[in-house]
């Protein structure tokens, strides 16, 4: 295959690039203490939360953006961003889908995620975030029966203030990093999940995030707490309309797993990556961290990253409890002029803690994919173990893959293994599959999906299907 053909194949107009016509109640661009007060007032927050935001803002002012990632982008003008936007006609919030703005439902339909269908098919509870305010929450009752709390964080602040107060910022402190501090100051909304002791959450929890307002930063904040012996699987999916200007996204996700608890967090992300020059895509700076606080706790991150002009994201596990387990399974795709700098951190603190990292990077066109992983073993993490495997797949010869594995082992009994491979989609493979009747596009998809299989296997079934489809769309082109 020639480079030109490959470019064509990889190129395609963003399928979901449309803008929903909903009047918005948007704050003018700019950030200062008054803006933060305004956000807090509009959301009707208690005083302690406003104080918390202001504290974070003060810390953020002292900080500077990270520069070490393998990324190039112009400086972000934080004063040109609007920090709050809510769909109008919110009222008291709809009781059912019938009460939801039809334009919103239309949006979901275009995205192929009609809520009605999902309700029936998958039994998935959907907490849909449209811009900054959660609009629809379904399946509440069933969860309520099990004692599970699954609601917008803004709601939890009122319904479960003691829980929010106890856990918010307990995994990712306000000043953890530049973007986490910004998020702490201005976070819009997100999900709150609380699984009580001994409860196995009766369904997969899912949230669809979507950015729809021009020039509006998205500052999602999600908090998931799994009490002793509980289990939850949470799915996050993203997609966004085409834009002329880059959009900043700085989310924070905090997970807490107590003794014998397990949290599976899966993400399929499909943000607009920008045009061929990377213009108009999403800047995605995310802090995701889970803490295994109790013994034998387990946290798994599984992700498919296909969107974003720039991605800066390292879902991490802090393994405090003895015998606790952290896992990271990731597929990251960088095409066009996309830059992805992703990876994970596994911090081993408790004895016999174990972690597994499987990272699959796919680079196409002029995409640059960097894996950055840190495995840190503190003194006392006796017999800690890590297995890391980083595989890179190159499609064409203008793209790049970079691997930066960092290891800090301060415990002599720790056992760490690292494997890395780089391969190319070969003409032999494509020709072989084409002689079996597969189109050039299908052949490429098959090779790429094979490369990703170890990770896709970790996704919940319906998500795995979506992931393959999404990867197909990402690599789809004008050929044929």
């Amino acid at each position: 295959m020639s480079q030109q053909e490959i470019d064509q194949l990889v190129d395609q107009d963003y399928k979901y690039g449309f803008v929903t016509d909903i009047e918005s109640d948007t704050l003018p661009p700019g950030l200062n203490e008054d803006v933060i007060r305004e956000i807090s007032t509009r959301k009707g927050e208690p005083e302690w939360l406003l104080e918390w935001r202001l504290e974070a803002y003060a810390k953020w002012l002292q900080m500077t953006p990270p520069e070490w990632a393998h990324l190039e982008y112009p400086p972000i003008d934080f004063q040109s961003i609007s920090y709050f936007s809510a769909p109008k006609k919110q009222g008291d919030g709809p009781k059912s889908l019938d009460e939801v703005d039809p334009a919103l439902i239309e949006t979901y339909n275009k995205l192929g995620i009609p809520l009605e269908e999902q309700k029936m098919l998958a039994g998935v509870a959907v907490d849909a975030v449209f811009d900054s305010v959660s609009v629809v929450t379904t399946f509440k009752e069933k969860l309520h029966e099990a004692g599970v709390v699954f609601c917008p964080l803004s709601e939890a602040v009122h319904s479960h203030p003691e829980l929010v107060k106890k856990f918010l910022g307990s995994v990712v402190p306000q000043n953890d990093n530049y973007y986490a501090a910004l998020n702490s100051a201005v976070f819009s909304d997100g999900s709150f999940v609380y699984i009580p002791k001994g409860v196995r959450c009766p369904m997969e929890l899912s949230t669809y995030f979507r950015i729809n307002q021009q020039n509006t930063g998205q500052f999602e904040r999600t908090l998931i707490v799994a009490e002793e012996g509980s289990y939850v699987s949470y799915l996050e999916g993203c997609t966004a309309p085409q834009r002329d200007e880059n959009q900043l996204h700085a989310a924070v996700v905090e997970l807490v797993a107590e003794t014998d608890a397990e949290i599976k967090y899966s993400t399929v992300q499909n943000w607009f990556a920008g045009d061929d020059e990377g213009k108009g895509g999403i800047y995605n700076f995310v802090t995701k961290r889970g803490e295994c606080r109790g013994d034998r706790a387990k946290i798994s991150w599984t992700q498919l990253e296909t969107g974003s002009a720039i991605t800066w994201k390292y879902p991490s596990c802090v393994l405090k409890g003895a015998d606790s387990v952290g896992e990271f399974y990731s597929v990251a795709v960088a095409g066009k002029k996309q830059q992805a700098d992703t990876g994970t951190k596994m911090i081993h603190i408790g004895p016999r803690t174990r972690s597994t990292i499987i990272s699959k990077g796919i680079s196409t066109a002029r995409g640059q994919n960097a894996y950055r992983g840190l495995v840190k073993v503190l003194p006392g993490a006796v017999d800690a173990r890590n297995f890391t495997q980083c595989d890179s797949l190159l499609i064409g010869d203008q793209c790049g893959a970079h691997t930066f594995p960092y290891v800090e082992a301060e415990e002599p009994s720790a056992q760490l293994e690292h494997e890395a491979t780089t391969s190319k989609v070969s003409d032999d493979q494509l020709f072989y599959l084409r002689t079996r009747g597969m189109s050039e596009e299908d052949a490429l998809n098959m090779v790429v999906n094979g490369f990703c299989k170890e990770v896709f296997q970790k996704l919940p079934m319906e998500f795995a299907v979506e992931a393959e489809a999404l990867l197909g769309i990402t690599l789809e082109g004008a050929v044929g």
Binding site: F431, T435, G437
Partner: protein
Amino acid sequence: MLSIRNLHARVGDKPILKGINLEINAGEVHAIMGPNGSGKSTLSSVLAGRDDYEVTDGEVIYMGQNLLDLEPEERAWAGVFLSFQYPVEIPGVKNIYLLKAALNAVREHRGLPELKAGEFLKLVREKLKVMQMDEAFLHRNVNEGFSGGEKKRNEILQMQLLEPTLALLDETDSGLDVDALRVVGEGINRMRAPDRSVLLVTHYQRLLDIVKPDFVHVLAHGEIKLSGDHTLAEKLEREGYEGIEAA
């Protein structure tokens, strides 16, 4: 069915095929023999549509169409099948997945409905039995970690499923032990039909003892130097290619 006229092909500046003429009628089996490097794989690759090779002259008419105008997958849809001399590994892709995708792709273009999972499995099991292959094959990644013989069996398994009109079999016998050779040879024989033709590339007489060809051609230096019936293969086995190459 297939008519190759004055076919010239090269890689970069290097001419490899230098005027091949070959006429294959429906139902015939033609064997191509010849020393290493004579252009046998190049010929089958060009016929299957590999774009590393540049056709500089000549034409190939397959069932009334100009074969060289078609993309590789279009050739597959039209009933051309290439069994690779070196089958390619596709990591992470299960054999059964490829078989199903291939069969359904070809069926779609023949106006047949997609096979349901149950029907497909039944069909594959039938073919596995013919090829004396274990069902475990279905769940291994395509050609990954297959022995040479297993790869060749797998190619013929694919051919059995896809039921091509023109089968190009490139050294399907190499790397096979005696038992495997018989299985593969009989697998090919089963496919012989009045409306199906086979181009069999081989070095050895032993496959031709099982699959008796209608014609044997000797390829050397990119040209067909000699053609005859199956007795030519026996002669070559005794006397080697030297005399022919010099010719």
